[in-house]
Amino acid sequence: MDLIGIISQVVFFLVAALTLAAAFATVLLRNVFHAGLALVGTFFGVAAIYLMLEAEFLAIVQVLIYIGAIAVLILFAIMLTRSLMKNEDSGMNKQWAWAAIAISTLFLGMFIVILQVPWLLNTSVIGTDIVPFLGTELLTTYLLPFEIVSVLLLATLIGAFIIARE
């Protein structure tokens, strides 16, 4: 294993640990606002993972949209619902124990499947920039989903407006 391999592995473990820690923080922190900030941390971690997987465009999109839009939106929502001031006690509800058990077995199952299934493995090197190809593919093969998403966003816009307007 050459030096770069080791370094990249170390970097991966670092990033993965950070992301998971942030995720745990989002879930466990009692104060919802702090949880929001931890969420932003997780998003950064995921963006780093994308970079390691050579999907730079996606990393940027992740940072821009997830952190820029969705995380901010969530923080606004937290402020709007003034749960900032109210110091709620533990954020967990009555059934968290049952949920924990169920989810750990689910994780176990997933882990077994991940190890067991013969995933496709054809390691090919990406030389050039893939973004233009992505563009063409979006507008040729996946043109129909692209249009549908646009209508979806329009509907969401109006829907959110209807529901949340003062």
Partner: protein, 519 residues
């Protein structure tokens, strides 16, 4: 993408264009003329209903009127480009890359979706009079119907996810439409949270499929999985997770918990739509998933579907026994009906006989569509005038609104499966296909369930005929629209039973692509 191909997307496009038009008009008229917007929506739905057969026709000199319900398939795929392939039968290889397919099954569900739309619109005209955001309601509703149609046609994991989410989001908005009503809000938030979690689980399943086969197209995934049996682990694990998403939409038992609350909370026309729309589209996806992807592991999915079917039917029927709120009762009843449909899916045996699972499901869907919408129309008619939603408030309905009482009796009997109704034909086919494919025990449980179900269906009718009318109750009048809606559903429920041949032709056309057509 040349113009001809757009023709094969025309029903969806018409609806989307109409909804945009309605948004625009609503903007221009600033809230006045909501009635005309409704008419526009209705016209759009009729247009899409008429266009579907036009697409399906194919000039065939050999046929009688030289019109044959052909089975062209418009493919929107990477390699073959958006071309129109004229296939008599659905070879996976040919449609390997298709993202969206406008084939027989899609046409069948387009017809079903547009009919649902029309009938629910009939119901909502009354309901919407005098409320805010009426234009938006109609527009969003049209989008929901378009999403339903697209769900039926999508043979690509991405498309399935996208259309499912599209329908879900629009449904959340529609459910939460009555902002000031506490119940509507609560129903919407519950529906949203449950839906979001379920679709996340489904997504994870989809990623598994993509990981193993490298492709998003159902047919290709199916080919890879059937070719190599050690993918069995993945296929079933991922399918089970995907079942969460689809099960949520159909409201099968472990994933049904949202339904009673959402049905009770949502405005009644939306409840009517929820009880039919997403459920039917969900079955379209389930059919495609079962027949094209995991068909080879017959033993497993038959076992899974039978078990889920039994739990769904039994739980749905049994809990409905103690319900006193009509909408909640109809919610549990529609859960039970989903259980019966699942029996049809479980007994798919590809035997080519008329009594085959696939035909049974489609017939049951058609029958359930008219019966359930009819029942909801009656509930809406009563609620609009008296605001009564509890069974006890239905006292002496036979005097106040004899037509409504008689129709409600007819629809309840159809739901219970008493003969001279479409419901019976549906149940007959479903139980017949179960016995035909060797699941006789399933048919027996189904039959016992339909007897239990009769008890609560009769509980709805009993006060109408036997209890005295509460004092000061004047006769219930309802708009012309509701009347036409009731007439359409009642006549169709009777016609499907008395002259089922046209329905059988439509169904056999629908299942032709799977090679299990009803000769």
């Amino acid at each position: 993408m040349d113009g001809l191909v757009l023709l094969y997307l025309s029903p969806e496009l018409i609806l989307i264009a109409a909804s945009l038009l309605i948004f625009g008009l609503d903007l221009v008229w600033r809230g006045r003329g909501s009635q005309t917007l409704g008419i526009v929506a209705l016209v759009a739905l009729f247009l899409s209903l008429i266009v579907t057969p036009l697409i399906a026709f194919r000039a065939d000199p050999t046929e009688l009127l030289s019109i044959k319900w052909g089975n062209q398939i418009a493919l929107f795929c990477k390699i073959c480009g958006p071309t129109v392939a004229d296939l008599s039968y659905w070879e996976p290889a040919l449609v390997a890359d298709a993202i969206y397919v406008s084939d027989n099954l899609t046409n069948f569900f387009r017809i079903i979706a547009s009919i649902t739309g029309i009938v629910v619109l009939f119901a909502s005209f009354d309901f919407m009079r005098g409320r805010k955001f009426v234009g938006e309601f109609y527009a969003l509703f049209l989008l929901a119907i378009a999403a339903m149609m697209m769900m039926a046609g999508s043979t690509n994991l991405l498309m399935i996810f996208l259309t499912l989410e599209f329908l879900s989001i629009v449904s959340y908005i529609l459910t939460g439409y009555l902002r000031e009503n506490k119940k509507s809000n609560e129903a919407a938030i519950k529906y949203f949270l449950f839906g979001a979690i379920a679709s996340a689980i489904m997504l994870y399943g989809m990623s598994m499929f993509y990981g193993a086969t490298g492709s998003l197209n159902l047919a290709q995934i199916g080919a890879v999985i059937t070719a190599d049996t050690n993918y069995e682990v993945l296929a079933l694990f991922a399918a089970a997770l995907m079942l969460a998403g689809i099960g949520f939409k159909i409201a099968l038992v472990p994933f049904h918990m949202w339904a009673p609350d959402a049905y009770e909370g949502a405005p009644t026309p939306v409840t009517a739509f929820l009880s039919v729309g997403p459920k039917v589209a969900g079955f379209a996806i389930l059919l495609r998933l079962t027949l094209q992807v995991i068909y080879v592991y017959q033993f497993d999915w038959v076992a899974l579907y039978s078990v889920v079917a039994v739990i769904t039917m039994t739980l749905g029927n049994v809990i409905a026994l103690t319900q006193s709120n009509v909408k909640r009762l109809l919610a549990y009843s529609s859960i039970a009906q989903a259980g019966y449909m699942l029996i049809g899916v479980a007994s798919i045996s590809g035997s080519g006989q008329p009594l085959d699972g696939v035909n049974a499901v489609l017939i049951y869907i058609a029958a359930y569509l008219f019966t359930n919408l009819g029942a909801f129309l009656v509930v809406i008619a009563i609620e609009n005038k008296t605001g009564a939603v509890d069974i006890s408030q239905y006292g002496g309905m036979i005097k106040r609104a004899p037509a409504l009482a008689i129709l409600m009796t007819y629809f309840m009997l159809s739901l219970a499966g008493i003969p001279p109704t479409a419901g019976f034909l549906g149940k007959f086919f479903v139980f017949g296909s179960a016995i035909n494919s060797g699941l006789a025990w399933l048919a027996v449980i189904g039959v016992i369930n339909s007897v239990i179900s009769l008890f609560y269906y009769m509980r709805v009718i009993r006060p109408m005929f036997f209890d005295p009318t509460p004092e000061g109750a004047q006769p219930i009048s309802y708009s012309r629209w509701l009347q036409t809606g009731l007439v359409v559903t009642a006549v169709m429920t009777l016609l499907i039973m008395l002259f089922p041949t046209p329905l059988f032709n439509l169904v056999s056309y629908g299942t032709q692509i799977f090679g299990i057509a009803m000769r």
